[in-house]
Symmetry: C2
Subunit: 127 residues, 2 copies
């Protein structure tokens, strides 16, 4: 895939959830993500299956109050994105970095980085 195709695929991924759970488009995400998606994240660790990823993404998106893209880079079959999200119920904002590899028109690998303690704190504030 060329730079523009890769950028378009990554943009389609964000367009499938960035407006929160009302915008969550599971059918579209199944076309975007390879079934054996390799995922690495701070809380879930490493997996090679799009299904648990989709469950985790839906759970995350239920708490997304706003999505603010900061930077997106795409070159060949690789891409990356940096963004901030405000999360309910606290309304606090935190930062996320995502790195992608694409193949045959789908996202084959997705590595996500964020502060897991801040994530838990914003989603489960104790006052």
């Amino acid at each position: 895939m060329n730079d523009a195709q890769t950028a378009e695929l990554v943009q389609a991924y964000y367009d499938s959830w960035k407006e929160g759970i009302e915008s969550f488009d599971e059918a579209r995400l199944r076309r975007i993500l390879a079934p054996d998606l390799h995922f690495e994240g701070p809380i879930s660790g490493s997996r090679d299956d799009a299904e648990p990823f989709l469950l985790g993404l839906a759970d995350f998106v239920r708490s997304v109050q706003s999505y603010q893209p900061l930077q997106q880079v795409a070159a060949g079959d690789q891409a990356s994105a940096l963004y901030d999200c405000a999360l309910s119920p606290s309304g606090g904002t935190m930062r996320f970095a995502e790195f992608f590899r694409v193949r045959d028109g789908r996202i084959q690998e997705l590595r996500l980085l964020y502060d897991p303690n801040e994530f838990r704190r914003l989603r489960h504030p104790r006052g």
Copy 2:
């Protein structure tokens, strides 16, 4: 700058410290980084000055036991990198994501993401 020039500049940045404090090349880093570098990081917050960044980088590099690049993406005046570092004294490995904007042959903006609690834990283990 084109993709290759941007990739080369970012690689020069890592080559200036990735082998640990013995390899730390402050003079080279001063040629790579804009004097008014915009930096954002999980512990330091936001700054527009390369000098405190260089102090912080030297402090970090003193603890770098190994550097493992995972992914680098460069397109136009933007770039990103994902890498793991093993840190002393614990020897534990953690992940870093860095997003760059370059201008006039220098890194103008650098946004760094990592887990600050894990960082403190690996550098100051309490047994």
